[in-house]
Assembly symmetry: C2
Homo-oligomer: 317 residues x 2
């Protein structure tokens, strides 16, 4: 099967009629019409076998993940998914592998209402997938990392560290359970998009670990933060849960800030939409992150990208 037949068989069916698609897959480029009054948001992420997912990961999970991690970036910008392109590098073209990969991709795409508009399939000794997503957002409403202000509350949309535990369990041979699902099927927090645009100031997705990603947000906003370690949602039955919550990657929860004046409306909207919401701290005028424990005891000492005894457990360095 050559590249053209591959595209036709597996990927063309993913290029269903999406809004604004005037020419889809099959030409030198796709032709798209952006909705009036909206800005475009574009993001790109590559997954490499053995670096971002285990080499024995099922192809369906790879397809799902390749799109999910990109959708998470759109969610963090407050952008509604619209279109995506896919570049996939494969050691060889195997129909069973491609079929499962395309199904994983398609399932995620349907949930997100995002449409494939272009692609490239090439041979490479190493399996990898690069997806570029395009979303749209009403003018001026995109959320940036640099917009946090002193006094803002800091929120997380779900438990952290589950994916890191899932990876550790995968390596031990486990193939089921909640943590493993979190690692294998990260769910981009798309349902949060309307509420974020309404209430949030700054946002970022937690892909590299909470400590690191919050750090990026703080640096971009030139502010600091106080974080209550006891309020970080995590699996307390896991003895390494705190380290994993702070330094484990791949959770794809959102971290955002919102001004105090919006908090009642934010909580009400989260509740009525049944969206989990955890307030974990506050933006300060300082620099860096001040970790606190509610009983006032001294928090564990943070060394580099981990606590004293927590090795960083994410696959990617």
């Amino acid at each position: 099967m050559n590249e053209f037949e591959t595209i036709a068989r597996f990927f063309k069916p993913l290029s269903r009629d999406g809004k604004g698609i005037r020419i889809g897959i099959g030409d030198d480029g796709a032709v798209l019409r952006a909705p009036r009054g909206r800005e475009l948001v574009i993001a790109t992420d590559t997954l490499v076998a053995g670096v971002h997912f285990p080499t024995d990961f099922p192809p369906r999970a790879i397809g799902h993940r390749a799109l999910a991690v990109n959708l998470s970036d759109l969610a963090a910008m407050g952008a509604d998914p619209a279109w995506y392109t896919l570049a996939v590098s494969l050691p060889k073209i195997q129909t069973a592998w491609l079929g499962a990969f395309a199904r994983g991709l398609d399932q995620m795409a349907r949930e997100a209402d995002i449409h494939l508009v272009g692609g490239d399939t090439v041979r490479s000794p190493v399996l990898s997938a690069t997806i570029t997503v395009v979303g749209t957002v009403p003018r001026g409403q995109a959320l940036r990392r640099s917009a946090a202000r002193t006094g803002d509350g800091i929120f997380i949309t779900g438990p952290l560290g589950l994916a890191a535990r899932g990876l550790a369990l995968w390596r031990e041979g486990a193939r089921r359970g909640r943590a493993l699902r979190a690692f294998m099927h990260p769910v981009p927090r798309l349902p949060w998009i309307p509420a974020l645009r309404k209430h949030a100031r700054a946002a970022i997705d937690v892909s590299d670990g909470f400590a690191q990603d919050l750090g990026h947000l703080l640096q971009a906003s030139r502010v600091g933060a106080e974080i209550d370690l006891d309020r970080i949602p995590r699996n307390r039955r896991d003895p390494d849960s705190l380290g994993r919550a702070l330094f484990g990657g791949d959770d794809y929860e959102l971290c955002f800030t919102a001004p105090q004046s919006r908090l009642p409306a934010l909580r009400a909207d989260a509740q009525s939409a049944q969206l989990p919401l955890f307030e974990v701290g506050r933006i300060t005028a300082g620099k860096g992150i001040h970790w606190r424990l509610s009983d006032g005891s001294p928090p564990p000492r943070v060394v580099g990208q981990s606590f004293d005894h927590f090795a960083r457990s994410r696959m990617q360095g």
Copy 2:
């Protein structure tokens, strides 16, 4: 140097103020404003070391090429370059390599007036680069492969087969000369964009070899073609020039069709803009390509993707 430092040092300078960029590199996604009355054109292409370019190719040429082949797709659609994203996979982060790669990319980007708006830098055992380009075109003016009609003239924007000869020479150890330049520094035919939008019906870029790419155009348009082999521009001092012109890839010339009524204006515009233009045949109501020689002698027999004795010389299968 970690990913963030890499991006900051080498790629952020490439994200200069481009038109419509509201938020550039450094957030979860870029925020872009498309010009009024225009449609977006999006295309993506991956280059893998050892597949699309020799493993000993200079990094500057890789950077240039990665963007050039994508720009060629925009040119074939009649779209003006606007923005691009870059995903690069590297065995390790070497500053000298990255600096040269970024320079090659930057030079091509400046010539094309296209601006980097996002990227991902990851580790991989195999060097590769995926670029996604976004261009814009006035509504309804994008050129598609499927628009050719019986009677249209078929045109080529420059000599074919040079890049294939350049690759053969590279393998023999040559490092300079015209053919080698054609292979190492493919030049996307961006100056053709305005004239294409004005005069052309269907267009495609010649990346996989003229016979194959013209075949795609004919299939999409459900027409056939008569091609005068004697009129195909090529280097006649190369004894394999005809085979390379038809089946060698990587030329990145444009192939397009235009109705007979537009030919005088097309020729005049090409001449006043000093754009090389070669009429090589005509669209027919038939199927497939009928190869002709001007003296009426029988043309060489085409077998699969080559003439009897011409092996396909492109790197990619």
